[in-house]
Amino acid sequence: MTVLAVKKRNSKTATLLLLVGAAYCLLPVIWVLIASSKSASELFSTFTLAPSSHLFDNLADLSGYRDGLYWRWMANTALYAGVGAAVSTLVSAMSGFALAKFEFPGKGFVFNVILAGVLVPGVILAIPQYLLLAKLGLTNTYWAVLLPSFISPYGIYLARIFAAAAVPTEILEASRIDGAGAWRTFVRVVMPMMRTGLVTVFLFQFVAIWNNFMLPYIMLGDDKLYPLTVGLNGLLNQGASQPSMYTAVVTGALVSIVPLIALFLTLQRYWQVDLAAGGVKA
């Protein structure tokens, strides 16, 4: 066999393996797309991958569940993830900027504490966070989920790297000589320069909050405050006693992943993350 033939065969094997991987990853997504078109009786009886025609009936049923509670969960999730990620990005940008561009006593200590924070397992936080927020009377409110999501040590770590790479020190000097205050310089000069990096920090935190389950599960008792993850978990639990709920669960699962998939496809270029260097190659 010639070298060229070996190369061609290798390339075919590589393509085949990649396609198998893609099929494995797409299988549950394709299944939920098909399953949400089935009626309750068809869900467990017809062939798994045979679509039916009840998608709109299922969507109407889902919307009708307890006066549109599902859509309230969707709005809650958007609120938790949107506000949480926005505040967290601003806080990270400010801290990262300070750590990257200033010399001050205690800098090394602060940075090391934040690095240790990156490796803190969330498990140790869950119960004390709940108890501390309960003392403030904030559990079972929007704040219980929002406040802890405002801080992201990993976001600060990333923002520091972006600030160090994207903001030249001379520009800060020039802005100060022009008489601009530190806050003005930060908003008008530094933030725009860090834009690409800050979008990545925002997306990281947005996905983390959107997908979070344990924090809202512990903090919230009122199902009107639930995000989608906790709501769907509750629906599935109900399905165990009334199987007719399963169509709502399946349709709800499909609808819940549409926004994030749309976000991923439109903002693909921001998802090129180098964890070791902490940078984004855009």
């Binding site: 990853c25 140790i124 699962a253």
Partner: protein, 326 residues
């Protein structure tokens, strides 16, 4: 929010010597980094540092009931020494959940990172076919957009014999499909959900590191007669090693805290107990049994074990946790 103090009035400023003015400006400037750090440090203290300290404190406390245990004054909190730790470690359900999570980690972390590395290398070697490359890259990354709860829900249904297409295929060949949610398979079933959800993200991290390498490096190796496999093994894998180390540490931390997947699969499988993983036991102790002290002790133990494993691993490979200097 204003981060600069208001400018002093001109008369006072003029009355003072110029040197004092300079010194005042310098000290105001010295406060700037602290002002920028203030919100981050405040939130860090309130929602990370304080809860950790509080968890440690609670783990050493217990409630003492005096008299008949009636009335508000009869229940007081006292120091408990290490009795909560002893109680939580000797709980007959604790060790099985630890073994389970270790087995789970041994399945998930190597499989997920191995697949992520394989797919990243294949994508990188396949640069000549952009269409297949971008399609598979997006398809494999897609599960990252699916919350663990929804991923468990989708796979949970696919595991049910009445729904699973795998059952249909196997039965067509006259074979009996395994009951994926039965006690002998359930660990693999949960592991599969985590592998499905995590491979894509790790693949993108490794792929990004690979793309940063100039192709000229491979070309000279190729001219020297190196095979693609040798290039992958001798050049590419060493280059992405720092990324692999970081993905390993982050995967390890996430794996030891698995909670959403078994909690969601629980209604579909009666083999998953309330104490299936250590974190589920923490949840049950704190919120079902109202024993926050024992739950705090268990979470301190899990957190310490996680720290020891991740730092121990970083020490073992001889790398610092993060490249602290640019």
């Amino acid at each position: 929010m204003s981060l600069t103090t208001p400018a002093p009035s001109p008369t006072i400023a003029a009355a003072r010597p110029a040197a004092a003015k300079k010194a005042r400006q310098a000290s105001r400037r010295a406060g700037v980094p602290y002002a920028f750090l203030a919100p981050g440090l405040l939130l860090f203290t309130l929602f990370l540092a304080a809860p950790i300290v509080y968890a440690g404190y609670l783990s050493l406390r217990k409630v003492k009931v005096s008299g008949l245990g009636l009335g508000a004054k009869s229940r007081t909190e006292v120091w408990a020494g290490f009795s909560n730790y002893v109680r939580s470690m000797t709980d007959p359900e604790f060790l099985p959940s630890v073994y389970r999570i270790l087995g789970y980690g041994l399945i998930v972390v190597p499989t997920m990172l191995g697949l992520a590395l394989l797919m990243a290398l294949l994508l990188d070697a396949n640069r000549t076919r952009p269409w297949i490359g971008s399609f598979t890259r997006i398809a494999i990354f897609l599960p990252y957009a699916v919350p663990a709860v929804v991923a468990s829900l989708l796979w949970g249904f696919l595991y049910l014999p009445r729904v699973s297409p795998i059952t249909d295929v196997l039965e067509a060949f006259g074979l009996t499909a395994p009951e994926l949610l039965s006690s002998s398979w359930v660990l693999w079933a949960v592991a599969n959900v985590a592998i499905w959800g995590g491979t894509g993200f790790n693949m993108i991290v490794i792929y990004t590191a690979l793309k940063a390498v100039p192709t000229s490096l491979y070309e000279s190796a190729r001219i020297d007669g190196a095979s693609e496999l040798a290039i992958a093994w001798r050049i590419k894998i060493p280059i992405v090693m720092p990324s692999l180390v970081m993905t390993f540490v982050f995967s390890l931390i996430a794996t030891l805290q698995v909670f959403a997947e078994p909690m969601t699969l629980k209604p579909l499988s009666n083999t998953i107990s309330f104490t299936w993983t250590p974190l589920m036991k923490v949840y049950r102790d704190a919120f079902v049994r109202n024993d926050i002290y024992s739950a705090a002790a268990t979470s301190v133990v899990i957190a310490l074990a996680t720290f020891l494993l991740s730092f121990g691993f970083l020490k073992l490979v001889g790398r610092r946790a993060f490249n602290q200097e640019d």
